[in-house]
């Protein structure tokens, strides 16, 4: 068995019509894979403390899920947890790490920086805006940084994905994030355009002025329907 150097998922491809043996074997394999997700010790910044270290610590104890065997070598790891900001200088290394991992490999992006660049989107010349610009990501765990519980949820989500048959994917194919079905008449492009519009509109309002504004101007803002600027100003 050990001499098989080909990627195994290929010969476990389901036959059309389905075979009982293969299907139940697949279930067993998925069960083994989802219960033994060994992470790679990889953390660039803040998220590493919460996601790599605090989860392993006594209070949260990721060992309960069998995922505490952090391997320092990418060859032996199953899941690459991108914990922290990825900058341009790190990007090739991250790519190499991903290439070095053995199939099946999974990627969890934790924290705002790994998802989108987070607080470093504007004004930073070196931050990569999201690790998925470099490698495919399976699960996104939001937060800055996410709480350990949040990471567990991400891990359980990944386990669910594997249980539902993600092992049979072709290793070379990069998956797109799955979107819920949109209402008729609305495309993805519309949402994106609206979002951009909203963001631009919001950014044009001086937040401090909004804060100092009189009740009259606040009402004017409310009437104009630009509620997002109000949300933003209370947060600041």
């Amino acid at each position: 068995m050990g001499l098989v150097t080909e990627k195994l998922p290929i010969f476990l491809e389901p036959v059309p019509g389905g075979s009982v043996l293969l299907a139940s074997m697949d279930k067993l394999i998925n069960w083994a894979r989802l219960n033994s997700l060994w992470p790679l010790t990889f953390g660039t910044s803040c998220c590493a403390i919460e996601v790599m270290m605090a989860t392993g610590a006594p209070k949260h104890d990721i060992a309960r899920f069998g995922a505490e065997v952090a391997r320092p070598s990418p060859r032996q790891a199953d899941v690459l947890v991108i914990a922290g900001t990825i900058v341009k200088r790190m990007a090739p290394t991250l790519r190499t790490l991903y290439e070095q991992m053995a199939e099946p490999r999974y990627v969890i992006a934790t924290g705002s920086c790994a998802i989108s660049g987070g607080p470093f989107v504007y004004g930073s010349y070196s931050t990569v805006r999201g690790a998925d610009e470099i490698i495919p990501v399976d699960v996104y765990v939001p937060g800055c940084p996410p709480r350990p519980e949040g990471y567990f949820y991400g891990l359980l989500t990944l386990q669910k994905m594997i249980r539902e048959g993600e092992t049979l994917r072709h290793p070379g194919v990069r998956r797109k994030p799955v979107l819920a079905e949109l209402p008729p008449g609305i495309t993805m492009e519309d949402i994106r355009r609206d979002l951009v519009h909203l963001l631009e509109k919001e950014a044009r309002v001086d937040l401090r002025e909004a804060e100092n504004a009189t009740a009259e101007s606040t009402e004017r803002l409310l009437r104009s329907g630009n509620s997002s600027s109000l949300i933003r100003s209370t947060r600041d």
């Binding site: 803040c46 209070k59 200088r89 790190m90 790490l97 600041d236």
Partner: protein, 387 residues
Amino acid sequence: MTIAIRTLEDLTRPSATPDSPLATQEYFVNMGPQHPSTHGVLKLLLKLDGETVREVIPVLGYVHRGMEKVGEHLGYRQFVHMSDRMDYLSALMNNWAVSRAVETAMKIETNERIETIRTIMAELQRIQSHQLWWGVFGMDLGAFTPFLYGFRDREHVTDILEKTTGARLTMNYIQPGGLMFDLHPDFQKEVKEFIAYFRPKLKEYETLFSENVIVHKRVKGVGVLDAKTAISIGTTGPVLRASGVDYDLRKREPYGMYSKVKFEVALGTTGDTWDRYQVRIEEMKQSLSIIEQLIDNIPEGKTMLMKPGAKIKPPEGISYSHMETARGVLGIMLVSDGKDHRPYRIHLRTPNYNNIWSITHTAPGWRIADLVAILSSLDIVVPDMDR
């Protein structure tokens, strides 16, 4: 005249083969950016002769996010959020440093309640940071259990801080002009419980790790950093104090409530890894005693002196203010042109950027295993170094 700009390749050309037939060839090894003991993504380019380290070339910037440039795009209050993400293990102290820089530039006086709470918070965070360092130091020497013991106790502090600040790591609690919120009603009770809990645990740390003969063998006399070089390299914090230099801003330029509490500055003698270890253990004890002195004497008063939305626009000029964080001196240089509500230039003098270079002086001549111990004793946080 022309000034030659070098690149990394210039440094890594293999040296000429030595004449002696018994001589061994030196070789280069990349330690990092993905290496378990570089605490993130620091890369050390090692020139090795067998196991012995001949030269260390730190290669930084694997998490350089352009914090200073980002700062030029943000308002002063917004930049406090950024400071959390720099040295995330002393987030509150970073908040305080930025707030204090802004307060100094704008000449705002805070009241005693604010300063007391800030001091308690900073010392709690110092303990928290050193607990994590203790665990990681153990792990780097090959003992895994200290790491979990350190984290077990760290969670207690995290819980206390979380109740008040609402966050576990990036607290963003101390703001220019005061504090984000008032203390949680349980704060005092819980802190006292924690002090009673943690004192015996420090003894446990010593029985488990400090008194272990292998630890002594591994760290005593290793990586000596003498006082003169330490000052010249500009190291600060426990690294400098371990070399016997009494440089603690809490004593030298007291801020917060440090002038009103009694504590001793932990000092080393020789500046080896063991001294750096001992200094931090001692600092935890001192921090406990500082908190103990302050926790019952929090005066009444407002916790925010600035109007929440008020514009912060310091007068034109340069101002520099620094503070003692868990790793050393964090200096914030603010340059305002007096016209904008954003800084014209913000320079961050982070402790780790200076501390890391001391390894080029201390590590050569030691083994790879010692290099790991020395590096760990510097207690680096890479995002703080790269900014």
